[in-house]
């Protein structure tokens, strides 16, 4: 039988605010345990939550960017369960009336067709603390620094049909939240985490199969592998005549498998109800308008414009457009040098390699966009060759100087004086009579050898195309 996997993702994006969602405690990562948890985050009696305006604003921005409805009125609810890293015994979340409803996202699966995936909803909630199970004489250590950190839980429609599509969705969302500057996307620090709902059904059937939920996937690779494993496991169970049990599973990357989570509670019953401590959230119309006005050109639109206006290949355009700082940098380089494709190539290859080597973000590049544009302008106007430009770039990187200064100081200008080049061509021909004879006997490949000799004599400063032309003319006489 042919099986069709059905996958929906719930992604928790940590919102980039200075303070917590319901308290004025800081949200800094990596602080000493329990030094970022106020009495509100600790759930002391008598305290009251007050909603952070920035958390609402970032959720609104996300809603506008995915073409969703920003709910005029939404409600906070208590999700009740007991766990030591949840001090109040409930998590404040949104249940029946979330702040963002609907919308969609375009995904680009590797080797597949791009398509849109529906988003069901996105709601605001607080994060829980962290349990540390090692090293405390048989006890569990609790760090509540993360408790109360604002999260946006983004729930997709069950519209993905392979692990590859699920990963493409997660990547597209990761690109978007960073682009909107609503989340730093740091997966190692847990700022962007994913739960996956997976089921399979006979191909062509409309009803869903029984699903399992895989919790806390914090890398693209794990999401793909965990979902792939789970799809295969469910198919094996069904083909062996068994039934899939609805349960929560954890992915073990070391053994590359999912296992049921051991929980005492048979069925989760969160007993949601509206939080009496929080009044309904009415998003101010002015906030929605301000966010709408400030919404940047989005990655998909920017990519399309790079292809359309600059004649870039879609893959190159995507690499440039999907990171906001890179896209801004690229457009500045293109403007200064006047050659958009040359600029694309340099930003994607030379600059990317140099940044990668030093582990730097483009925003911290030692060579500014203006300066890189200045260098590329010298390639475009024929002052230097692309090869020499790479040497100049290395010097700009370490010295922090402008291209023109280095070109002049090192005497790197390309030799374009035909007379001087012709003299060199004569020299090279005179010095290599054997090769000349072979060339004229039909070994055309030797032209490259002669070009190399001339380039060597000029320390790479000749224009290779011009040398090529002069040599050909002289040798074919």
């Amino acid at each position: 039988m042919q099986w069709e996997p059905v996958i929906g993702l719930e992604i928790h994006a940590q919102l980039s605010t200075r303070s917590k969602i319901f308290s004025g405690a800081p949200t800094a990562y990596g602080a000493e345990p329990n030094t970022q948890a106020s009495l509100i985050d600790l759930g002391f009696p008598g305290v009251l939550p007050v909603l952070n305006e920035a958390a609402v604003r970032l959720a609104v921005r996300f809603g506008l960017a995915i073409g969703a409805t920003v709910a005029r009125r939404s409600i906070f609810a208590r999700k009740n369960y007991f766990y030591p890293d949840l001090p109040k015994g409930y998590q404040i979340s949104q249940y029946e009336a979330p702040v963002v409803v609907g919308g969609s996202l375009t995904i680009h699966p590797e080797g597949g067709e791009s398509r849109r995936i529906g988003i069901t909803r996105a709601h605001l909630e607080e994060d829980a603390g962290k349990s540390l199970h090692e090293d405390f004489q048989g006890m569990t250590g609790i760090d509540l620094n993360r408790a109360g950190t604002p999260l946006l839980e983004i729930v997709s429609e069950p519209e993905m049909h392979s692990a590859r599509e699920a990963v493409a969705y997660m990547r597209a969302l990761h690109v978007l939240v960073r682009y909107l500057r609503i989340c730093d996307g740091n997966m190692q620090e847990g700022s962007f985490r994913c739960d996956a709902n997976v089921s399979v059904r006979p191909k062509g059937e409309a009803a869903f199969g029984t699903r399992t939920e895989i919790k806390n996937l914090n890398s693209f690779r794990f999401v793909e592998r965990a979902i792939q494993y789970e799809i295969e496991r469910q198919i094996d169970v069904l083909e062996g005549g068994g039934t899939v049990v609805q349960e929560t599973r954890l992915y073990d990357p070391d053994r590359d498998e999912t296992r049921p989570m051991r929980t005492k509670e048979e069925a989760n019953d969160y007993r949601y109800f509206p939080d009496p401590d929080l009044l309904p959230l009415v998003v101010p119309e002015a906030m929605v308008e301000a966010e709408r006005q400030a919404l940047p050109e989005l990655p998909e639109a920017r990519k399309a414009r790079f292809v359309e206006d600059y004649g870039l290949k879609p893959a190159d355009a995507m690499q440039l457009a999907f990171d906001r700082d890179t896209a801004d940098y690229y457009e500045a380089v293109a403007r200064v040098c006047g050659d958009a494709r040359l600029a694309a190539n340099w930003v994607n290859v030379e600059l990317a390699a140099a940044l990668n080597r030093e582990g730097l973000d483009v925003a911290c590049s030692p060579v500014s966009a203006e300066r890189l544009g200045g260098l590329l302008a010298r390639i475009a106007d024929g002052t230097i060759s692309g090869k020499i430009a790479k040497q100049v770039f290395e010097k700009m990187w370490t010295e922090g100087t402008e291209a023109d200064v280095i070109i002049e100081r090192e005497g790197l200008r390309q030799i374009t004086d035909t007379g001087a080049l012709e003299a060199l061509v004569e020299e090279v021909i005179a010095a290599n009579p054997k090769q000349v004879e072979q060339y004229r006997a039909g070994k055309g490949k030797l032209l490259g050898f002669f070009v190399g000799q001339v380039m060597k004599a000029t320390q790479g400063k000749a224009n290779p195309a011009q040398v090529n032309q002069l040599l050909k003319k002289r040798l074919d006489e």
Binding site: S19, E32, N34, T35, Q36, L51, G141, I142, L144, L279
Partner: protein, 95 residues
């Protein structure tokens, strides 16, 4: 509406309350009475009335995104039964 002893047990378990077996019947009756009271209100036709999440018809006030709290960990942890290296210690929980 009448709750069974099993339902009361399940509710107690969810709330982490320890209820002696011989108290279940009495609790079931009391809780059932509360549900009957709610059922009376449920009988009123409220179609066309927007559900209320809060008795006050006031929107939530928003707070500027500023760090305003100073954290006095030692004082907050003074009431904890066990702490170590700044962490609260609890009986071991394993997932």
């Amino acid at each position: 509406m009448s709750l069974s002893d099993e339902q009361v047990s399940a509710i107690a378990e969810l709330a982490r309350l320890s209820v002696p077996r011989d108290a279940l019947r009495g609790l079931a009756q009391e809780l059932s009475a509360i549900l009957d009271f709610v059922a009376q209100m449920n009988a009123v036709d409220t179609s066309g009335v927007e559900p209320m999440a809060h008795p006050q018809d006031v929107p939530q006030r928003l707070r500027p995104d500023e760090v305003t709290e100073t954290i006095d960990r030692a004082r907050y942890q003074a009431v904890a039964p066990a702490v170590s290296h700044g962490l609260y210690l609890v009986p071991r929980v394993i997932e």
